[in-house]
Subunit: 328 residues, 2 copies
Amino acid sequence: MAAPARRPTIKDVARAAQVSYQTVSRAINDKPEIDPDTKRRVLDVAEQLGYRPSRHARALVKPRPSTLGLTVPDLTNPFFPEVVAGVIDSAAASGWQVNVVSGAGGPAAEAELLRSFAAEVDALVGYFNHLDRSPEGLDIPVVLLDAEVPMPRCAAVAVNVDAGVRAGVQHLLDRGHRRLGMIDCSTSCDRHQRRKSFQQALADHGIALPADAVVDSEQSIPGAERATHQLLDRHPEVTAVFAFNDLTAVGVVRAAHARGLRVPQDCAVLGFDGLMLGELITPPLTTLHIDKRRLGALAVGEVERLLAGEREPAEVELTPELVVRESA
Amino acid sequence: MAAPARRPTIKDVARAAQVSYQTVSRAINDKPEIDPDTKRRVLDVAEQLGYRPSRHARALVKPRPSTLGLTVPDLTNPFFPEVVAGVIDSAAASGWQVNVVSGAGGPAAEAELLRSFAAEVDALVGYFNHLDRSPEGLDIPVVLLDAEVPMPRCAAVAVNVDAGVRAGVQHLLDRGHRRLGMIDCSTSCDRHQRRKSFQQALADHGIALPADAVVDSEQSIPGAERATHQLLDRHPEVTAVFAFNDLTAVGVVRAAHARGLRVPQDCAVLGFDGLMLGELITPPLTTLHIDKRRLGALAVGEVERLLAGEREPAEVELTPELVVRESA
DNA sequence: ATGAAAGCGCTAACAC
DNA sequence: GTGTTAGCGCTTTCAT
């Protein structure tokens, strides 16, 4: 009496509709070679039984990649949701589904998560901070969102950090700043790209930069506040701070305000990323804007290139754009 | 000569390892009844061939739900990423994968998206704004994140908007405000709950509220700015504005500032949601904080309850908590 | 237009 | 310990 609770299969439908089960298949797949009446009847029965085709059985018979894995470090960081949105939208347009995973803890956890995750998807896109560049074994297409050196079967969509940093530094110099500082985030996935570019850019302009004028911070607002205090304690002469990203820039602004400094008059602050957040604080953040949705879309494009058989690694680049608002 | 490019199957491994393909199955499934040497050899061959088991074939044989569908209206709205994070984390802990889709356009688009999406997942969680409460046909467990009246095979995790609104109104009254206004967002999925609760709460306190002191807004900052100007043009006597959520509250604050009003002295502003955003603007937003991660986690809990066979609908509730900062 | 049979990649039952 | 046989739910020949 208690219903078996089993999901009805194509055969259940066939039995109930008094036809062979291939006929059912024809009906639900909208094939031409079937009597319209039969078709309608079958469809009705199917509906009534609550029949839904098994995606697994289907995928077995007609194998085509359909699921994209997406890894992001932290959805709480407003940068990433937009990338995710870009991937999802773009993937949806191509008929992909997107499996999202977020915030793998340490290197070991990340490696493990990746192993199991990779088994469930047909391609992988994302940030792999801790992974030491060798997604061995998992031979599905992989598109790195944070790395520079792709490997076979592995593409990358990169942000041209160097160009961005240089544009930012140029802007600061144009405004007359000569004593600069920087808040870096070594725990991020940028592998000191921003820091190096910053140092190099200043060197190229012949501007001195004390080694301890680059201070490392957690990737959070309070962390950046602390780091900024450190920086300004050491170097009160600094008139402009290059922040690792908008989130840390918010921390820099808060710390500056806390010290009674006016932004940008006493201390200019430059962000990176171009988050909506930056427009809303006081003063609105001058920043290097990254088109995060596009980043995601480009990644999906790379997945498809890889899947289409292009074997050689490629790196697509996105250049940040300086958006001048009020903080610098 | 050109490799078939076909993914190696268990049989390919068997052939290469000179064993039957079930032995391969034993090896990769870590079954006890197999000679350690054989196992190692098989595993080596598998590795070398780049073999990966087919999740579809596996799922066919051992059917267990594994994929959760999650729909959110808009990842750009900072409210949702946190809910997503809550769902993902909680789902991951139970071995689920999460398929995320975002921003279905109109009602028709949403219905269509849902149909196809539902075919790909084993359970569905999310916001279904446009859907007229009848996920007919898709008989998988559904957990509504925005609705009140669940249906069979359908649970809901709701925010107790009424309690939140009342706490907020009480706070405003405690601060001496008697002329209140509200910015509502009728396009959202709250179905005028906030508006109704607001009106009712004021009525219960015997406070008059002109009908046009509740003005409808798009769910965006500029939209809220426009709406606020409308409100204050009509009712300059208003001393406190109840905003639909933190995002619109930001717009209210901006509009107030634009009119030369001090917040909260001349015009108090109360938000809803408790976004990080609200802490960062000037002045920091007083708001009704919702634990968004927990919302997501609860939804996953409901999915599991449903899957475990609990048929009767249930509604889990989450009550917003008043966080007093500076805007009200 | 419909039915029968094969087979997708895999695990589980049962031999040996 | 290993191989043989079924069968998961479905689509595709191939007959009829």
